[in-house]
């Protein structure tokens, strides 16, 4: 009976761990995924001298579409400062060939394909766009929304850039998370 109870606890613990969200301050293990050309890329390979921001994206989500220009601008400005931006498409409904075509037209940053949503599960990503800023020591510094207005017309809080600027200045960001809103990452074919 005791063994059954222990087993039940282990099963529950494993199930919880499988879907738990990466906590700010925790270390993110290196991972590898194919890019849109099928070439395997690792987080370590893509990391800038001041870290990397992973942004979950989608080619069909209008919320992501609304952020395309802002993401390209962030990628450009902060690459020069040592922070690289990497997109990850973890939607099972979006084939790599379609993502490649879309990325060439819309995104000025590398995009990886998370076919089985393993990295999305690992980080606990739910929506697109959703950002995870990982510093040089692979510690998660910021998680969540890029800013506080998806339309881009009334942005008053640049959450992600503020986290970058604080880190670049050698400080801990005052805000380490913000609620992301967007399209559900399609983990199963519907």
């Amino acid at each position: 009976m005791k063994k059954v109870a222990i087993l039940a606890v282990m099963v529950v613990a494993l199930a919880a761990a499988a879907y738990s969200q990466a906590q700010v301050g925790s270390k993110i293990e290196n991972f590898s995924l194919p890019d849109v050309d099928g070439k395997t890329q690792s987080l370590a390979d893509l990391k800038g001298s001041k870290g990397t921001v992973v942004v979950f994206v989608s080619i069909r989500c209008p919320v992501v579409r609304g952020y395309n220009e802002r993401l390209n601008e962030i990628a450009k400005v902060y690459k020069a400062k040592g922070i690289t931006l990497v997109g990850i498409d973890a939607n099972i409904t979006e084939p790599a060939t379609d993502v490649k075509a879309h990325a060439m037209m819309n995104w000025d940053f590398p995009v990886l394909i998370d076919k089985d949503s393993k990295i999305a599960d690992k980080l606990g990503a739910n929506v697109t766009p959703e950002a995870f800023y990982i510093d040089t020591d692979n510690v998660l510094v910021y998680h969540g929304a890029i800013d506080n207005d998806r339309s881009g017309r009334n942005v008053t809080e640049h959450f992600l850039q503020t986290a970058f600027d604080a880190t670049l200045a050698g400080k801990k960001p005052a805000r380490t998370s913000a609620n992301a809103f967007g399209c559900t990452i399609q983990r199963t074919a519907q």
Binding site: C61, N126, N148, A178
Partner: protein, 180 residues
Amino acid sequence: MNSLTARIIILVAIFTIGTSLAIGQQTQKPAAPVGPAIKQIDLEGLKTVLKTDGKPRLINFWATWCDPCREEFPELVKIDAAYKGKIDFISVSLDDLEDIGTTVPKFLHEMKATMPAYLLHASDEDAAIAAITNISSDFHGSLPFTILIKPNGELAYSHAGKIHPDELNAAIAKQLSAGQ
């Protein structure tokens, strides 16, 4: 009437009809948006929507660009019809503000939806999401999202993703039986 007179009459008739049609087109007013009126709300309006008013309150958060939202809507319309007057059912669209007079009412019209309809346009989206998360921690910023709030303000049911009609019906029935 000779043939020349007949030709002149036909030409005058064609000209008159053509001119009338052209004038008619110029003075035609633009078509009014099809569908129910959608009320715009901000963060404060959302907080009001999240408060009950004596009855269980069912709230569905959705958007026209969200496929699962569109797919589940017929079931929500059926639920609205089944419990009309017994619960307050409110739909809250998270579409862009530009869609308030176009795609949102058009879709609701197609669905024959008659529940009060709102469009949330908050200047601070983070705060708006937090207001919903305060009611249910199941909300992670994705749509559709559906909650049933008890008359006393407690959460009775919440579901992220497409609803399971049987589950939602059971949750509503439970609240209605508890209130008798």
